[in-house]
Symmetry: C2
Amino acid sequence: MARTLEPESVACVGAGNVGRSWAIVFAQAGFAVKLYDSDTEAVRNRALPAVRQSLEDLVAAGLLAESRSVLDRIQPVASLDQAADGIVFAQESVKEDAQVKQEVFEKLGKFAPAGAILASSTSAIPGSQFMQTVREPERCVIAHPVNPPHLIPLVEICPSPWTSTDTVERCVDLMQRVGQEPIKVRREIPGFILNRLQFTLVGEALHLVGEGYCSPEDIDKVLKHGLAMRWAFIGPFEVAHLNATLGFQGFVDGLGHMMRTLARDAKVDYEWSPDLANRIHAILTQKTPVDKLPERQAWRDRRIMALRKHLQRAAVELDE
Amino acid sequence: MARTLEPESVACVGAGNVGRSWAIVFAQAGFAVKLYDSDTEAVRNRALPAVRQSLEDLVAAGLLAESRSVLDRIQPVASLDQAADGIVFAQESVKEDAQVKQEVFEKLGKFAPAGAILASSTSAIPGSQFMQTVREPERCVIAHPVNPPHLIPLVEICPSPWTSTDTVERCVDLMQRVGQEPIKVRREIPGFILNRLQFTLVGEALHLVGEGYCSPEDIDKVLKHGLAMRWAFIGPFEVAHLNATLGFQGFVDGLGHMMRTLARDAKVDYEWSPDLANRIHAILTQKTPVDKLPERQAWRDRRIMALRKHLQRAAVELDE
């Protein structure tokens, strides 16, 4: 994408939690952001105030120098037509419904300049279910974030069968330019990579709790006081590489048998009952009742910001 | 355990990476530690210098005020007899071999005072395979740490069929007293909780890499820039609880279908080939060749120490 004197513009379509967080990502990186939602009232009454709060939180956490200029780059627009006009990139974050997404994509395809990338935040709907009928389907791609994307940088770039390699590469470049950490999923697969890994682990966790081997709190402790203390800065393959004298190969030579045995013994497709979900919910609400969730979510976001700042600092101070 | 004027003593049996890290845990908490290894030379020539280095690293990281008094509390001993004499607790961290462990436990059972807890660090051998023949088998229990335990606090307390409830409770108390984060596994299961979750996730990761959906680096990125940015301070169940307006129940009502679909679609028992392990090893060694592993392991430990310090500080400064 050529840089011009005018900031390039992007459209964020859908102004819920995910859409407005994307608006922050792009505005922080200097883009002019057009924020659109079919509920135009909600943009002014809920999304923009929430964006303002998030920006103030970033400043308080030391992750942003000042919020005003970022906020000024986010402009609400009244139609998809206006949203798509002159953009280089659109990020769709509307309802998880293939038909709704298809309608939005068709309109974006019609109104956006030729070559502008049209990306979807969907976490579960393959692009092949809503991208085929769009004008220039080769520029449509999935860019699945982790919620909220302005705090958690990973984003999964996944093509539909019609997506061009050029679109994937330009989308990866753009995501890097705005400070995200993109990975390329090579071809369509349900749940991409992140949610497959997440719900595979959660499936086995439900099995272990459901069969009475441990409590839900124990599962959370195993992650936060155990596994994630390494995964937060090295992933599972590098953990294995560093856990054997001869590296990953040595790890597999020594423990491959155990790895296979435990994986075979796992019951990730455990048929957990509504009653089990209920029991877990009851335990979680003892600590955080449903009416205290917004408060605890704000706490979670402060903790993510502090963690991100720590990780950035540690990468500078402690990395070879 | 009654507190006396003399510090209580514990035995650390096996002075490899895990055993000497346990020695630090107990010595830091004020216990008199008797460190024993069948290779007595290795204790003086390798284990104690490594302990000294680790203690200096803890001081440098701001996690320990001074190292001298801690080091002074760790005394090498020349026999299992001496190691077990007068102890309240023994932590065995010898070779992962049921027969070797059985011999060590039988001797500990013979020499240790009645009621002293005998714990094993095994990560893969169920207690029922080496604890039955010990004197007072009801005091034998597994206390499986994450490596290294003086940096990563999680420890899994798992009974054998003969372990008494009292032993489990006293072991949990002791672990809390020395600053670890114990969870109780309710009954024997291969791999306990942590390694089942770990190798279930790794199994699906091998499937995704093996079938060409993504690269090994992508898997590591998904964890470190995505999933672990929440798991490092809230586990997967609380993540779900905070990701829906109505909490965990709302999450399951809305996304339970996706959770089940992805879990069913996972192939955690994927038959990965030696060739796949080889390819992953080759990629990991591009970044860290085998001869640079000790350096990178030292870096990993510095990063864990910095992360732990961050998590401790954040818990004080940001928690409600």
